[in-house]
Symmetry: C2
């Protein structure tokens, strides 16, 4: 599972307050805490301004703090494709652009840049939506994926650099949410098993009580359907445990070696004080 740590994001209240107040200490603290719970060769830290601060400048500041204090690669997260591309120059190591979609202006701005040979280690999250939003049915979303792949092929971007986000609707208002998501996952893997599938899955439980149990069940079912990446709080210990458990149950972790290793490394289970 490739994890994109979500805590540095202006839309998260504590993080937003720290960004507005230029509180480097808090950003440093959550960068290090996330890095300690992740694997620098496998995972990423998301970095999203999400406030009305000047975006590129603030990304530079945030990315600086992350890179001075951790060895994590960064997922540059902005609604502006121009800002994503501008911020690439602040990265010490290739990361991920979060995100493009078939919404006008996104792919046209990002793909020519990450398609350059010097950027061939950059990844990109691609949402299955366009200017009209995300189609209700899986088939409509897969049609958007075909269009995205056509563009990727045009710019020479290998499919294993793409993290496809089929989009998760809220279960409380969309009873078919998981079923549609899982159908998308299966069709994505049919189209090309090299494609990664990712999701900022917490939307599944929005507005419902005891969100964690919905997130646990969604995680297991989405992984079974083929999701191999997710945007989560890496310090959510039980959710991390569910991920390791699901990998083992699905035959991806023989004799639970990874599960036991993560437990020993204090990633999940009762907190072991240092």
């Amino acid at each position: 599972m490739i994890i994109i740590g979500e805590k540095i994001n202006g839309a998260v209240p504590k993080s937003g307050k720290a960004i507005k107040g230029h509180d480097s200490d808090y950003i440093k603290e959550i960068a290090i805490a996330q890095a300690n719970a992740l694997d620098e060769d496998n995972d990423y830290l998301d970095c999203c301004v999400g406030t009305d601060d000047p975006e590129v400048e603030t990304l530079e500041w945030l990315m600086g703090i992350i890179q001075e204090n951790t060895d994590m690669r960064i997922a540059i997260d902005s609604p502006s494709p121009e800002h994503c591309v501008e911020a690439m120059k602040f990265a010490n190591k290739p990361g991920i652009i979060n995100s493009v979609s078939m919404q006008s202006g996104k792919i046209e701005t990002v793909f020519p840049v990450i398609g350059k040979p010097e950027n061939e280690e950059w990844g990109c999250i691609a949402l299955l939506s366009d200017d009209k939003g995300s189609p209700a049915e899986a088939d409509g979303r897969i049609e958007l994926l075909r269009q995205i792949l056509e563009q990727a092929d045009k710019y020479g971007i290998a499919h294993d650099r793409l993290y496809i986000d089929p989009l998760v609707e809220t279960l409380g208002t969309s009873p078919e949410s998981l079923l549609t998501f899982a159908e998308c996952c299966r069709k994505i893997k049919e189209l090309d098993p090299a494609l990664h599938i990712t999701s900022g899955l917490s939307n599944i439980s929005f507005g419902l009580p005891v969100r964690k149990v919905i997130n646990f069940a969604f995680m297991a079912l989405a992984m079974e359907a083929g999701m191999d990446s997710c945007i989560i709080d890496p310090l959510a210990r039980d959710l991390r445990g569910v991920i390791y458990a699901t990998d083992a149950l699905l035959g991806e972790d023989e004799y639970c070696g990874e599960y036991l290793g993560a437990y020993r490394d204090n990633i999940f289970g009762p907190v072991k004080e240092a």
Copy 2:
């Protein structure tokens, strides 16, 4: 989901101590606590002596306490088919026999009794094992199911009275455990969708740390494969939440009505004091 509450069982240390000491108060307490978390029209309380006390006599005592204090139906749980059948006369309402298998003497003793017209509301758990144990592969287990169904048909026992337990091996030593279980579930439902599928699933996490996260993930994946009953601690609140969440995610609980109802009824989520 049909839940069989597992707490009255001599193999559970506290319960075993209460049974040995004839501590009616404790049995009453866990009978009521489980009943409060279950639905008398849908669920059952398991009743297993599991100590070296005289079994039929002790079943009578335990079943008496359960029935004086709750309206729950009982799953009579004994390795002895004769004792299961004897204890049926202590039940005020039809329950479940836990269990038969293709092990010699089991079906031959139980099916003629529950096949009688006056017992037509009794259910029966059937393990997919025989005198040699449980076959490693799904196909071997399904072959045992065919033999069980042949006997059920011979005694006129409708398939919707059977709770098939495909058996869960420990993940730590059997990496294929969930995959084999899920394959069995799919094949059972192919054979006859009227058959229930149940499992005492906690064996999946035996010997591993942080067992709950493995149980959560197993529950979601097993339900997706078709499991519609389970033998669990009904007071395990997060696990109960995962069950309601999974039902909603799989499209079995439109707009989360059951999920929200169970939350309001204090079945899962933070404990609400009366």
